[in-house]
């Protein structure tokens, strides 16, 4: 199996406070990797390391290496904007831009300089179809995305991300604000998308992690306690703390 990210000895500090301690892991291509762990253990912090969104936080310092395609993404040679076009992100709360549905999806490609209307139309349509939103909104592409329901907005955000045709999609609790039906739609979507993309997902929902992920990493207080195939983690965790967390005796 091909490695997508090779994470080596990542330490992260918010000012003086250490939020990640010596994180090591491999994330494989065309797999769904889930991060679980109690609140405040550093899942979001870590997933944001993968597309360097932490750079935007003042006082945040990262040490260690994350190798992607042979290059450390934290090396000065890495073009951050280019990295983010290859590693897309979906946030916990849907954050569509206050523009039309069409413009939301065309936003990324347009920022890359794509102006060809036909190509944009094509991208918007295929992206919407991939997230199964096309049938719901095809007749109101020109209307504001703010008018969509929460679940539709989140799928739109995924479509917006897909429109960039990234290699990796990072999702930070993408379903925590959604109802069960929208949630299951997005879960199905993940399974569908992993054929073409590498997916990293943060979730508080054990069933969700078990249902959709191939690999699971358990975080605790800034450290990765255990990372393994999801089946193994959920049936024979090697660490007592993982077992306690999964069985709900903890956290």
């Amino acid at each position: 199996m091909e490695t997508c990210f090779d994470v080596k000895n990542i330490d992260l500090f918010y000012g003086e406070k250490q939020a990640l301690k010596n994180v090591n892991m491999e994330i494989y291509k065309n797999c769904v990797t889930a991060f679980i762990g109690p609140s405040g253990c550093g899942k979001s912090t870590f997933i944001r390391c993968l597309n360097r969104m932490n750079d935007l936080i003042e006082g945040c310092k990262v040490e260690g290496e994350i190798i992607k395609d042979g290059l450390d993404i934290y090396s000065p040679k890495q073009d951050i904007v280019d990295l983010r076009t290859r590693v897309g992100m979906v946030f916990q709360k849907p954050n569509p831009f206050p523009m039309s549905i069409y413009d939301n999806i065309a936003y990324g490609p347009r920022c890359q300089g794509l102006k060809d209307k036909k190509k944009l139309d094509e991208i918007v349509m295929t992206s919407l179809k991939q997230v199964a939103l096309y049938d719901e909104v095809h007749d109101r592409l020109g209307e504001s995305a703010i008018g969509l329901s929460g679940g539709q907005q989140q799928r739109l955000c995924i479509a917006r991300c897909i429109a960039m045709s990234p290699e990796v999609i990072l999702m930070d609790e993408p379903t925590s604000a959604l109802d069960p039906i929208s949630t299951s739609k997005i879960e199905d979507l993940c399974l569908e998308l992993k054929k073409d993309y590498t997916i990293v997902i943060v979730t508080h929902n054990m069933q969700q992690a078990a249902r959709i992920s191939d690999y699971t990493a358990f975080f605790l207080m800034g450290e990765v306690v255990e990372m393994d195939k999801t089946d193994t983690i959920f049936s024979h965790p090697s660490d007592k703390r993982t077992e306690n967390y999964i069985t709900g005796r903890f956290g």
Partner: protein, 403 residues
């Protein structure tokens, strides 16, 4: 029980306070309307402020027998013989005048030559709105008689006298004046110049301060400076305008204080307001939108121009409105920079006054003209109201084009 009483007292105080402010506002408006409304007319808005005097003789080519004047039944007193109707008016300058309300196309008063030296008999035609000052006419004995403004008394008497005359020799008349067209244009120029300069600079500074500037000594000093500028009295800006900016306007050809100088001064005065309100607007744009844009591989400037600024449009427009309000209401900063000289045809490089300063000019003369001042105040209110609506419409358009 006690708490209820306290609650009611507090509620009462807020009622009284708001009622008081409404009453004061209504009183001011009532004063302005009762004093100024009667003066407001198309002539006031489009007319010249300064009266011009003309002295003209009936053209020797004019033949009384060939020209047939028509009947007229409008207002004023009409003389069919001379094809002219007069009425009594009170001008914006508070003078009693005999004004021309109608001139027949075949009247001798439409076939005149100027007697003013240097105009070389230029053809003139009396137009309605002019105030008649004196007339030379021929009586039955063929003698030329001088009818002075005092002898004319009023419109009715003048017409009666003229009906008995045998011919008209010459007439001395004035345009009414008191118009505020020049000052309206000057005000609009000031708004345009100051916004054209302060908006781009202000918005760019706000973007720098909020989006790019890191927290360090220099930037907090800049911020402190901007906040301090907000509180600087406008007369100080005016002084700075004449001393610092005047040489700048000289470069483009200004020889004295000018509207351009006033506009530049106001632009600087508006900067803190624009920067502040733009910054407030940028602050409320959610971080999640910036994150969303950046995570899609947009650069920082793309994020700012495509997502952040459009979201901040309404806040920025609020700043624009505040700025326009300040320009319209400003007087102290303009006294030294645009001058207080009322100009009928102001240009950017000439002197002129804004409407507010015009009020000051009118009221600081020997005879304060309350009526004209009230009329101008009313017009200022209307302009402010109109600009408010226009800016709101622009805001809605911009917001819509973004959706």
């Amino acid at each position: 029980m006690n708490r209820l009483v306290k609650d009611n007292i507090l509620k009462g105080i807020t009622y009284v306070a708001s009622a008081l402010s409404v009453i004061v506002l209504a009183a001011i408006l009532w004063y302005l309307v009762s004093n100024g409304l009667s003066l407001i007319s198309g002539d006031l808005i489009t007319g010249d402020y300064y009266a011009t005097t003309e002295n003209a003789a009936i053209s020797p080519d004019y033949s009384y027998t060939e020209m047939e004047t028509q009947e007229y039944s409008g207002k004023g007193y009409y003389s069919k013989k001379w094809g002219i109707a007069l009425e009594d008016i009170t001008t914006a300058h508070n003078d009693e005048e005999i004004s021309v309300v109608y001139v027949d196309p075949n009247s001798p008063f439409t076939h005149m030559n100027s007697l003013v030296a240097g105009e070389d008999g230029m053809e003139l035609s009396l137009s309605s709105g002019s105030a008649v000052q004196n007339i030379y006419y021929e009586d039955q004995n063929g003698e030329t008689v001088f009818l002075s403004r005092v002898q004319m008394k009023d419109a009715e008497n003048t017409i009666k006298t003229l009906e008995e005359a045998e011919g008209i020799v010459s007439i001395n008349y004035e345009s009414i004046g008191g118009g505020i067209r020049g000052s309206i244009f000057a005000t609009l120029y000031l708004i345009l110049i100051s916004l054209l300069i302060s908006l781009p600079i202000g918005i760019a500074s706000a973007i720098y301060l909020h989006e790019y500037a890191t927290k360090n000594k220099i930037n907090s000093l800049i911020r402190q400076g901007i906040d301090t500028l907000t509180g600087v009295p406008s007369i100080v800006y005016g002084l700075m305008g004449v001393t610092v900016l005047f040489p700048v306007t000289q470069l483009v050809g200004a020889t004295s204080t000018s509207i351009l100088l006033g506009g530049l001064t106001l632009a600087i005065m508006l900067l803190p307001t624009i920067i502040r309100s733009t910054e407030e607007a940028l602050i409320v744009v959610p971080k999640s939108l910036r994150d969303g844009s950046l995570s899609l591989g947009a650069t920082k400037s793309q994020t700012i121009f495509k997502v952040v600024l459009p979201c901040a449009v309404n806040g920025i427009l609020t700043g624009v409105l505040l700025g326009i309000g300040r320009v319209i209401g400003e007087s102290a900063a303009l006294v030294y920079t645009t001058s207080t000289v009322i100009s009928d045809n102001p240009s950017i490089l000439s002197q002129g006054t804004s409407l507010s300063l015009m009020i000051w000019s009118i009221m600081s003369g020997e005879q304060p003209n309350y009526e004209l001042a009230s009329a101008i105040s009313l017009i200022i209110l209307v302009i402010v109201f109109a600009i408010n609506i226009i800016v709101k419409i622009i805001g809605k358009r911009l917001a819509k084009s973004f959706v």
